[in-house]
Symmetry: C2
Subunit: 356 residues, 2 copies
């Protein structure tokens, strides 16, 4: 089934209102969540709405958080999200990073006591309209085995970097630090197809092509897949995201990161509060005049678009191209949902006495 | 042949003095260069000394640079390296980042008009003694084909992040954003062994296992190796390093980055000045008390050391472990050089009338 952006937005806002979010927060959380569906990152959009509802019912989400700066310098801050929706805490923390960048050239905000914050790219892209570079990362439920490990120690810990250009659209990188994100495995599960080697390992720590391996005690692999192909670098990236997001802020890190699914218990020996994020904003004109920078970004992007290809694809892509094209398509023609997601939204509608 | 750290240091300093570097700069450049040999990153140490000499003879290195801050805010700056050795410009730029972090919580310095700056990790690690997180990255001669590309557009563009701990040694990640760094290919060339698939492609853009492919028009591949294994993420990382180091600073970016080898001509349509770097320092206590952070880093590191392994290796490593162990070993027992490097140093000694 395909639904209009407006319909999904309206329904999602009703759900957040029903959870007790103040209207402005419900609107913000909705915008962040549905941005994932618009941009084609289906695993992070309304597909997770029922999951947020379950976390709220389990008392793990505070719909009326008092978000506070608990520590700061002119260019840094730590924010306590008061167990709020990451979809609300995330953008509010990014606003603080942007305000600090306005005053001090750059702003860096570590966030603790938060929850899943949707797509990393949303937060990073908030900086673009201010002629700033935006960065965003978050830790997440442990699903990833470091190089040589047979244990889930890290989340898929994404990194997003958004860089403004002039006449070209902005450069927007947004990627999990694993070979493949969990959403890609879910697609293969539905299609009953095998996964490429290098994506996952089984419960014994051996390479596997079974996309259901995560349900059977297996783990996702860091970008690179194995030691010979540089998985220690993917492990470094995931670890850096974990430390910046959670050790710097005072959130739970590594295997202590709280699970997204409400049926898994919280770790009984927490090392911090909730999940962690890390946000950054740098004013372009903290380095050189913004117009000069943008002209050079246009030149960078233009030159990379002209790269000779191997023939595998019609052109070399600029990070952000596929998501921007998807957004244009879905704004115009609607957002397709698979049966499982459709059903989960119907169930939420029934329970909350809403129309979907 | 194996040489003591002291001997290599003394010889290298004499060479930089002969090039006309002031004594303090010669000492600093030597420390940065030989740090690579100590830490086992042989491709970036004295193996490159003859290369620096050739660049100097070609007039591409200014031994007495006037390094200047050309633009700044409380937490950001752009530095012009005046075509100096990156081995001198790099640490001086990092000192500026550290000073800004002292005053404003964090410091971020983009550098233009520089040259090859040795190992990224050296600069990042300078922050550790100040209870700061250090970051460092640099662009480099184009050798890497982005996903779907049959053209060398990016350098191996490394990223280093150094994070202090308490009783544990610091976390130090330092890695090229390619599947494998060029130094690994050189080892395979000497051993006449094949490279794993996913490291390189040939001049036609096809996967190859020939470690000599770079000399025959091929290219290194971004971390991930191919699209199915996430090479678009490695390409994103390499691109971010290029943009932060060179577009933000006003250096040459992408395929315009100047070659390290003096026999290749400089691009005749430069888009900036020299090579670029990007340095960052964040005060730990800009986020939470340093002691509290370090206790949690000790806990993070301790927990990761206890990770159950697949049996492939005796333990999961913490980034920085192999290099630290190598440094202890080489400080005690000397630094082995292969015949080619040995000969290149003999030639420099002869030419400069020095003893090696």
């Amino acid at each position: 089934m395909t639904h209009s952006y407006e319909k999904l937005t309206d329904f999602t806002r009703q759900v957040f209102l029903h959870m007790g979010c103040p209207p402005a927060d419900a609107k913000l959380a909705t915008e962040v969540l549905v941005a994932a569906d618009l941009r084609g990152i289906d695993s992070h959009g309304v597909a997770r709405l029922a999951g947020y509802v379950r976390l709220w019912k389990a008392g793990r989400i505070n719909p009326t958080p008092q978000i506070k700066v608990v520590h700061e310098t002119p260019s840094t801050a730590t924010v306590d999200g008061d167990a709020g929706l990451g979809l609300v805490v995330g953008p509010k923390a990014m606003e603080i990073a942007i305000a600090k960048a306005k005053a001090a050239g750059s702003g860096w905000v570590a966030v603790r006591n938060s929850n899943h914050y949707g797509i990393a790219g949303y937060h990073a892209m908030m900086a673009l309209q201010h002629d700033m570079i935006g960065m965003s990362m978050t830790n997440a439920s442990p699903l990833v085995a470091p190089t040589f490990a047979n244990e889930r120690m890290l989340g898929t810990n994404p990194i997003a970097v958004a860089i403004p250009a002039g006449s070209q659209p902005p450069f927007v990188a947004d990627f999990a630090t694993t070979t493949a994100a969990n959403g890609k495995l879910e697609i293969l599960q539905r299609q009953e197809k095998e996964a490429p080697l290098g994506w996952i390992q089984d419960a014994q720590g051996q390479p596997s092509t079974n996309p259901n391996e995560l349900k059977e005690g297996g783990a996702l692999l860091p970008l690179g897949g194995d030691r010979e192909h540089g998985s220690h670098k993917g492990y470094c990236l995931g670890a850096i995201v974990d430390i910046f997001s959670a050790v710097l802020s005072g959130a739970n890190y590594g295997p202590w990161a709280p699970p997204f699914v409400s049926f898994l218990p919280m770790p009984d020996d927490p090392v911090g509060a909730g999940l962690g994020h890390f946000m950054g904003a740098m004013r372009i004109d903290g380095f050189r005049p913004a117009e000069e920078f943008k002209q050079n970004m246009d030149k960078w992007i233009g030159r990379f678009r002209q790269t000779k290809t191997t023939g595998e694809a019609p052109a070399v892509l600029i990070p952000g191209d596929p998501e921007r094209e998807m957004e244009a398509e879905r704004r115009a023609h609607g957002i397709p949902l698979n049966d499982k997601v459709e059903q989960s939204l119907q169930e939420v509608a029934e329970e909350f006495k809403l129309v979907f």
